[in-house]
C-alpha cells in the first residue's frame, strides 16, 4: 500500500454516491444506485473485487487476512490537515480477523499452483436455488456473468467420522439407507404437511399458535424422532444454535421461520435443470458474485477505481455533515452519499476537537457490537471426504462432536470442477458461530481432527509462517498430536491428508446507517439472503424515493445456451 500506482486524477470530482469496498452489499448498492441513474464512484483499496467476500489465490489469502487483523494504523499526518471548509476525519481499518493460523504441509505442491486457487474468504456459503439472492441475480441480469454447479448432497456428520445422507427430498428419503420404514413415513408426511401448508390447503393448515411457537416444540409435537428432528433443524432449516438448550441458544427458530426454510429448501429442489439438489455454488468461487454486480453497475455507468485507498472523510465544519472523501492519491472527491465497507473506522483528529454535531454522532459510528464471532477454516486436501462425490455440504449439529458444542458447524467441500483449486484437489470450507477465539478454534479443530489426517510439520519453509501466527493461538498440529497419541489406534486410515489450512475468526460486524452508512461483514448464515436484506435496507436509507432494481420486462433475453454441458447450471426458470 506504500507504492500507489500513479493514477490520473478522477474526473468528475462530484458524484451522487461514493461506495468504498467491493464486497457483496457494496456492489449490490452500487449496481442498484447506478440502475436508478445515480452517478456512482466505486472504490476499492485492493487490486481485486469482493473485499471480504472475495475469492483469493492461495498466496494472497494470508496477507489479506493479516492486513485486516492488526489494530488501526496511525493516521497519516497529511490527512489530518483541515482545510478551510472541511474537517478531515482519518479513516483507519479495524481488526476484523483474529487468531489467524496458517499451516502449510506441502509447500512445494501448493507453491506451483498458488494462482490456481480461488479461496473464499467468507466460506462456506452457497445459494438455495429458490432463495432471494438467486431471485436478485435473475432480476438484475447478473446471471449473465456467472455460472453455477449443483452441490451434490448434504450430510450430517457424527463424532465417529461418519457422514449420514440427509434425506431432504422424496427421492432421497426413498433411497436413504439409514432411516427405518417408520422414520421414512414420518419424515415424508412432515414434508407433505409443510408443502400442503405452503400451498394453502385448508385441511393441513398449521395453526397460528403453532407457527408462533418454537420450531423444535412443533417438531416434538409432531412426534418426530431425535434423528429426524436433527436433520430438519440443522441440515435443512440450517439452524445455527442448539434449539433444545435455551441457555446457549441465541437464535431460537420459530415454527413459522422453520417452515419457511423448509419451503425454501423444497422449492429449491428441481428448480433448475441440471441442478439435482437444493444448493448451488458459483464456478470460480463466491468472489464472482460481487464481481457480477460490479459489472452490472459498470454497465449502468458506475466508475470503478481499484487499488485506491481512501484515507479520510471530509466533513462540513459547521453542520458536521458528510461532504466527500480524500483518496490516497491526495485527490478530494465529493458526493451526496457515502457507503463504507466494514473495514473502516473513523478516528477523531488527534489535535483539534471535532465540531460538536459530529461529536454526537461519532460514538454510534464506531460502536463495537458484541454479536460474537464466526470461526472459519479453509483446508486443502488431495482426496475427497466421500470417495464418489466432489461437492457437498456437511453439517455437524450442536453437541454432535462434543458436549459443549453449542452451534452447528458447517463444512463445504468444493472440488476442482468448480475451478476453485487445481485438478485433483479439494477445498474444504468450515465455519461455526462462537463467542470468542478459543471456542471458535475448538469448534473448527474438532471437525478437522475427525475428518482429516494432519501431518506433522517438518519443513523449514513453514517456520516463517508459523512464527507469524505463533502467538495467535494453538496450532492445528498440536491438537492433533495430542489426540492421535492418546486416541485408540486409528492412524487416519482412509482419511484425506491435510495439505494446507487457514483457520481464523471473523468479527460479525453489522451494517450501520446512522451518520455514515456502512455495510455488514459476511454473516454466519449459509446463504446470502440476510446480506441482501441489509443491502436493500441501506439502499432504502440513502435513496428512499428510488426503487431497488425496478423490474424490467425483458431483462435477459439472450440467454439461449441449452446448458447441458457438464452439469453447469444456467439459471433459467
Amino acid at each position: 500500500m506504500e507504492d500507489i500506482p500513479p493514477y490520473p486524477p478522477i474526473d468528475p470530482t462530484t458524484f451522487d454516491l461514493i461506495v468504498i469496498g467491493t464486497g457483496l452489499p457494496e456492489s449490490i448498492i452500487a449496481a442498484a444506485a447506478s440502475t436508478a441513474s445515480k452517478s456512482v464512484l466505486h472504490l476499492d483499496p485492493n487490486p481485486f473485487y469482493g473485499s471480504h467476500f472475495s475469492s483469493l489465490p492461495l498466496a494472497d489469502l494470508p496477507s489479506f487476512l493479516s492486513t485486516h487483523s492488526t489494530s488501526p494504523s496511525p493516521p497519516r499526518s497529511r490527512s489530518s490537515e483541515d482545510s478551510n471548509e472541511f474537517s478531515v476525519l482519518d479513516l483507519c481499518t479495524r481488526p476484523l480477523y483474529s487468531s489467524i493460523d496458517i499451516s502449510v504441509f506441502s509447500p512445494d505442491l501448493l507453491d506451483q499452483n498458488s494462482r490456481k486457487f480461488n479461496l473464499d474468504v467468507a466460506g462456506p456459503r452457497v445459494f438455495f436455488c429458490a432463495d432471494k439472492s438467486i431471485e436478485l441475480i435473475l432480476n438484475t441480469g447478473a446471471n449473465q456473468y456467472m455460472e453455477f454447479k449443483s452441490i451434490d448432497a448434504t450430510f450430517v456428520g457424527d463424532n465417529k467420522g461418519n457422514l449420514l445422507n440427509v434425506p431432504d427430498s422424496r427421492a432421497a428419503i426413498f433411497k436413504d439407507k439409514s432411516l427405518g420404514l417408520m422414520e421414512k413415513n414420518q419424515l415424508m408426511r412432515f414434508f407433505k404437511l409443510v408443502q400442503g401448508h405452503m400451498a394453502g390447503e385448508q385441511d393441513v393448515k398449521i395453526s397460528d399458535e403453532d407457527l408462533q411457537s418454537p420450531f423444535v416444540d412443533f417438531l416434538n409435537k409432531m412426534g418426530l424422532p431425535p434423528k429426524i428432528k436433527s436433520f430438519i433443524l440443522y441440515a435443512i432449516a440450517m439452524a445455527d444454535y442448539d434449539q433444545e438448550d435455551t441457555g446457549v441458544c441465541r437464535d431460537l427458530l420459530k415454527t413459522k421461520d422453520g417452515i419457511d426454510q423448509l419451503a425454501l429448501y423444497n422449492a429449491s429442489i428441481g428448480r433448475f435443470q441440471n441442478a439435482s439438489g437444493a444448493l448451488l455454488y458459483p464456478i470460480y468461487g463466491q468472489g464472482e458474485l460481487s464481481q457480477a454486480f460490479c459489472r452490472r453497475a459498470a454497465v449502468k455507468g458506475c466508475i470503478y477505481v481499484l487499488r485506491m485507498p481512501v484515507t479520510a472523510l471530509l466533513v462540513d465544519k459547521d453542520s458536521g455533515c458528510y461532504k466527500g472523501v480524500r483518496l490516497a492519491s491526495g485527490q478530494d472527491i465529493f458526493s451526496q452519499k457515502l457507503i463504507l465497507d466494514p473495514t473502516f473506522k473513523v478516528t477523531l483528529p488527534s489535535g483539534s476537537s471535532p465540531p460538536s454535531p459530529l461529536q454526537a454522532k461519532l460514538p454510534f459510528f464506531s460502536q463495537k457490537d458484541d454479536r460474537g464471532k464466526i470461526a472459519r477454516g479453509i483446508c486443502i486436501t488431495m482426496t475427497s471426504l466421500k470417495p464418489d462425490m466432489s461437492n457437498f455440504l456437511v453439517v455437524y449439529p450442536p453437541r454432535s462432536l462434543f458436549p459443549e458444542q453449542a452451534t452447528s458447524i458447517r463444512l463445504l467441500q468444493i472440488a476442482s470442477n468448480l475451478a476453485v483449486c487445481p485438478p485433483g484437489m479439494f477445498v474444504l470450507y468450515i465455519s461455526a458461530l462462537c463467542n470468542d477465539d478459543d471456542q471458535g478454534k475448538k469448534l473448527i479443530h474438532a471437525v478437522v481432527n475427525i475428518l482429516l489426517t494432519v501431518p506433522p510439520i517438518n519443513s523449514e519453509s513453514n517456520a516463517a509462517v508459523q512464527s507469524e501466527t505463533a502467538e495467535s493461538g494453538c496450532a492445528v498440529q498440536d491438537e492433533n498430536a495430542e489426540s492421535s497419541s492418546t486416541g485408540p489406534s486409528d492412524p487416519g486410515e482412509g482419511k484425506p491428508t491435510l495439505l494446507w489450512s487457514a483457520l481464523y475468526n471473523q468479527e460479525l460486524t453489522l451494517g450501520q446507517d446512522d451518520f455514515i452508512c456502512s455495510t455488514p461483514m459476511p454473516d454466519g448464515k449459509l446463504n446470502y439472503d440476510d446480506l441482501i436484506d441489509a443491502a436493500v435496507k441501506l439502499f432504502k436509507k440513502i435513496y428512499p424515493e428510488d426503487e431497488f432494481f425496478p423490474q424490467t420486462s425483458s431483462e435477459n433475453p439472450e440467454d439461449e445456451d441449452d446448458g447441458d454441458g457438464d452439469g453447469d447450471v444456467s439459471l433459467e426458470t
Binding site: I173, F174, L181, M182, K184, R189
Partner: protein, 695 residues
Amino acid sequence: MHGRPRKAPKPEDEAASTAKAQKLRALQTQFFSFHHDQIYTKEAVELSAKLLEINPESYTAWNYRKLAVEHYLSQPECDPDSVKSVLDDELRVVESALRQNFKSYGAWHHRKWVLSKGHSSINHELRLLDKFQKADSRNFHAWNYRRFVAELMNRSEQDELKYTEDMIYTNFSNYSAWHNRSVLLSALLEKKAEGFLLKENVLPEEYEFIHQAIFTDPDDQSGWFYNLWLLDQTVTTDSPLLVSTWPTCGSDVLIMGDGCQSGSFSPFTTLLSDSGSFPIILYFNQPVEGVNSSTVTIECGFNKNGYLHWEPLSVSNSQAAQVWVAHLKFPTSELDSSVEVSVGHSKGIISTRGVHYCHPSTFSFNVHVQPVERDSFQVSVAESILWREENFKVYRAQSEESIPIAYFDQLCIKNGHESTASNWRTEALAKEIECFRELLSLMDCKIGKLTLARLLMAYNAMSFPFATKLVHSEVLELYNDLMKLDPTHHRYYKDEHSLVLLQKMTCSKESLLQHCFQYKDSGSSVIGNPICLRLNNLSLSRIGAFEKLLWVQMLDLSHNELQSIEGLEAMQLLSCLGLGNNKLRSVTALEPLRKLKSLRVLDISYNQIGDHSIDTTRYLCSSPLSHSVGTGVNKDETVISDAALVNYWEAFYMFKDLNLNQLDIVGNTIADEKFKSALVKIMPTLKRLDGKVLD
C-alpha cells in the same frame, strides 16, 4: 410431461393451426397420389418425410416409407453401404417425428421395423433412449422400445434391472420402471439365471425395496402396483392344485328317483338324476387346460371303457377353466359301486402360465343307484317350490351324517405336497402383514387397509388347517372401514366383503350348518330331499367360496344385492335356485346358469332386468354378437324362427338350453306379457311361470 394443466388455445394459436392444416392438406393430397401410383422417387420419399415431420400420426405415410425402403432394397444396384444409408435416413425421419410427438405409435413402430432389418447401430438407440427417458421417465413407448432394443442387442436382464433401479431412485413414481422390473425379474426367475434361482431368495429383497417406496409415500400408487405383483408372485403357487371335488373323497353318494328315501344316506349326498348320469366336478386353484380322459382316469364297476368327456366350466368358452365337469353314466339297475378318480398321473394338465400339474392325486367314493321310476317327474310337477320363510326349517344334522363339508380337511390336498416349499411364502406373508399393520398404526391409508385385508386372506388360505376364524372378522372390519373411507370404490369393497363373508360362513362345518335348512317336510319334495343352503338377506353383492359349495342342490340367494352371479356355473348339482330380490340388471347376467344342466327351478323375480338401457354384460356373454359362441352351439339353432322371439334374442340364448320347470320372473321391467309368452315358447319344459301352471 406430467401434471401440466391444459391451457385454452389462444386466438393466434388457432390461426396457426389452421395454417398448419392447410399446409398439411396440400402435402397429404400430393402424398396420396404418390402412394397410389407407387412412386418411390427421391422427391416423393422426401415429401413423405415432410408430412411426417408435421404429423407423425400419419400411419399411411409410415407404411409408404416401408414400401419405399423395400422397393429400394429390391433394386439390383443396391449395395450394403447404400442400404445402411437408406435405413439411417429412416431413423433420422423417425427421430424428428419423435421430437414432434414423443408418443407417436407409428414412429416408434417404424423405428422397430428399421432396427429389425439389422443394418443399424444399436448403441445409438440406447443413447437416444437415455435422452428420451430423461425427458419423460415414465413414457411407456420409450420403455417398450427399450425392451425391444435390449433384446436385440442381447443386453443382459441384470443390466436392465440395474437400469430400472437407477430410474426408480431418481423418481419412484414410475409405473413403467416398476413394470419393467417385474418383467425382467419374471424372465430371470424363469431362466433360473445365476442369483435368481429361487423365488424365495429374490422376492424378500424386492419386498424390502418396495417397502421403501410405500412407506415414504403411501399415497403414490406405482409402488402399490409393484407390491401387488410381488404378492401375486408369493401367493400363487406355480403348479396348479386340485382344491376340491364332488363327490368328495370317501363319500357315499345316493342317486335316486322319486323321493324314495333310504334312511342311511345323508340328504347332503343324495342326488336325484333324470339324465342317467351324475357329474364329477374337479375344482382347481387356478384355470387349467388339458383335463381329459387320459389325464384324469376313472375306475369303476360300471363304466368299463373309462372314457369320460371333461368339459371346462368357464363362461368365456376358453379351453382353460378352474372348474371341470364330466358326466358319468350309471346303469338303470340298482347298483353299489366304488369309483376311483385319478388326477394328473399322466402329464397334460397345465396352468395358463404354462406350468404342469405335478401333484398326482386320487380320490374315491361310493355310488348307490336306485332306479328311477318312469313317471316320477310328471307327478312332482304339480308341486311348486315356494321360497317362503315358513317352508324352511333349520336342519338338524343327524349324529354321524356324512356331510360333504366334513371332508374339508381331506380336500386340502395341497398342504401335503407343498408344505416345505411354501414355508417361505407364509413367512413372507406374515412379514408383510406385520409391516402393513405398522403402517396403519401410523396413518389411515386406504390402499394399506386393502392390502392388509388381501394379505390376511391369502395368509389364511395358505395356512389352511390352522386358519383362524378371527381373521375373517378382522378382514370384514377392514372392508367396512374402506367402504366408509373411500365411497368411490364402494362396490369393489362390497364385493370383497361379500366374498370374505362367504368364506367365513363356509370355513367350518358348524358355521355352514347354521345356513342349512330343510324344505318343507322331508321326503315329499320334488327335488329329492336336499338340504337348502340359505344365503339370503346377507346383502351379498357377489358370491364365491364355490369350492366348498359344490354339493349344494338348493340354494337361496334371495334378498341380496347381487348384480352378477359369476362363478355359479361351478355348482353343477344345483336344481333349485332362488335369486329373487337382487339387483340383476340384464338377462345376459344370467349367463352362468346356461352351464347348470340340472337346474329346474329358478326364481329371478324382483330384480332389475330391463331397467337399464345399457347392458354392461352383453359383450361379455357368449353370443353371436361377441363372436365367442362355443362349439356346442348348433348353427341351425341360432336361426330364430319365430318373429316374436327376435326382440328377445338374449333371452332366447339364455333360456333355450335350460330345462326349467318353474320360473319366477315377476317384478322385472322386462317381464311383460309379451316377454312371458316368448319365454314359454323358448322353454317347452316350463310348467310354471310366476306361479301360474302352464298348459
